[in-house]
Symmetry: C2
């Protein structure tokens, strides 16, 4: 069966054409930085057609489209996504895209899509119950339970970045205090580094950003600063690992999971050592002894979300 999968992000959207288990077409476009939801819908239709072109197919040769989107998905609608123009307020993205592409649409949260990709074709093949954690600009979590994506009662499951780790602790980007994302996401780590710099703590982080011509502390910027022996960055990453370990252990204890898949920009850049350290940070908090859960790296990289969305599209074909 041949389906299209799209992964919509705040910066880029990527699309794949999936033929059974093989990716036969690829495309990427910039997400409009301003404008409205119509501009985003038009871009999504274009990136899908680009991927079809790349596969030398037209739309009639595929059966459905899956779309992974930030925010909270309910049926064919999405809302609560502040990083995509016009996606803050709930609207019927499924209907709009179905009209543009003349194919049935399956909408899903982007992180849940990536979890499904890893579950069926990536690091999580063969298990029924997993948590996929993606550590990049923020921290996202997606659940597969009993072999199926678990989207929650109102489409908001997997908010792993908001597990309460330290009541009254550091502030999260969202304004609550003590959530895991407060420690573990790139944006929060950059903000913490900025506060430390203002307070006089030496760090090369902002020099590295400038050298690399980046506006933001990307995963690559953190990696380089770490390689140069930056103690502040090493401390921030230690804190991130501690928070991730505690949060993951809570999820594993609550759900008795088979597997934790770790991916995302920062995890990919820091490699096996990052995975091993998160694993080690989680162990002391695990209830089961010996622990019945394993930790593995995500294997689909940036394609995971689009591949997972393409797999879920089969449900509506």
């Amino acid at each position: 069966m041949r389906t299209i999968g799209i992964d919509l992000g705040g910066t880029n959207a990527s699309a794949v054409v999936l033929d059974d288990e093989r990716t036969i077409g690829h495309a990427k476009r910039k997400t409009p930085a301003d404008g409205g939801r119509d501009d985003v819908v038009a871009m999504l239709a274009k990136v899908a057609r680009d991927a079809l072109d790349d596969a030398d197919l037209d739309a009639t040769e595929t059966v459905a489209v899956g779309v992974g989107t930030p925010g909270i998905v309910v049926g064919s609608t999405v809302g609560n996504a502040s990083n995509v123009p016009g996606f803050d307020e709930r609207f019927d993205l499924g209907a709009a895209l179905e009209e543009a592409l003349e194919l049935p649409i399956r909408l899903v949260n982007d992180v849940t899509a990536a979890a499904v990709g890893e579950h069926r074709l990536g690091g999580g093949v063969g298990v029924d119950d997993l948590l996929a954690v993606f550590v990049g600009t923020g921290v996202g979590g997606g659940l597969v339970l009993r072999g199926e994506p678990y989207e929650g009662a109102h489409g908001g499951a997997g908010e792993f970045g908001h597990l309460v780790i330290r009541p009254g602790g550091a502030a999260c980007p969202g304004g609550r205090r003590g959530g895991g994302a407060a420690y573990a996401g790139g944006r929060a780590m950059e903000q913490a580094a900025e506060r430390a710099r203002v307070a006089g703590t030496p760090t090369v982080l902002f020099e590295v950003m400038e050298e690399k011509g980046k506006q933001r502390a990307t995963s690559g910027v953190f990696k380089t600063a770490l390689e140069r022996g930056d103690e502040l960055v090493a401390d921030l990453i230690d804190d991130a690992i501690e928070a991730l370990g505690a949060g993951i252990a809570s999820a594993v204890n609550l759900l008795d999971l088979d597997l934790v898949v770790i991916g995302g920009g920062l995890a990919d850049k820091l490699g096996a050592q990052f995975l091993d350290r998160v694993d080690a940070a989680a162990r002391p908090h695990l209830f089961r002894s010996p622990p019945a859960v394993e930790f593995v790296a995500a294997t689909l990289g940036d394609d995971g979300g689009a591949v997972g969305a393409a797999l879920l599209a089969r449900e509506v074909a």
Copy 2:
């Protein structure tokens, strides 16, 4: 359909006969304090027959038996339950009881059984995704997801008492640090009160225990101490509520639940005020705004586990 449900606890076992949605027979027996697993199996068979007698039925007039047991259930086996003689090591309780009662057996974790009881006939009727939290001697959690009990990859789901709330914080009974049970269970609260007394903090808790002729600080003992204005007990309950609120919020954020059902001895004794305070303690940590989750009291009381087990028995009838 007519089934038997048994709820095995460390102190007592209770049994019901369930006829559709009606409980038509009741029985209760002491769990053997010593001896081995054979004594426990014999007692379980007896309490089931007592409930049949109470309903004026014999075993051939029912179709199956559900058993909620402490520990980790895998298929028809149970293990890891240190509070029942012989249940520490894994064994085939289902087969042993099937031989004794000549009826098919459905084994399930006791707290999951209670969650199912509340979901189908108690405070959680009509929702698909709920967490039931029982606060008594310890803290137990049971999950119903997509309308079905969620037992986890290895039968150990719902370990709500082991959500990591404060890394490096107070010790849990199980030896890990910072789990919710460290603050919220009656046994842990009694231990904390004992430490405080040794350190010179005034408290009437132990006098109340003696007055009531109790060996342990039961839920009733805590309630009376609180009514007498005991500040230490008030502080311990404040801490328990804070820990429960944070832990529940983490579960709600991760799973996007419809409903949280609160029950157990301490919750029942302290009444609506306890429920309202746990609800209020969870709110600041919830990711969804406005929160999409509701908090309600468990309504089946001590019968919840046996009723849930009887309902699950229908699966094997």
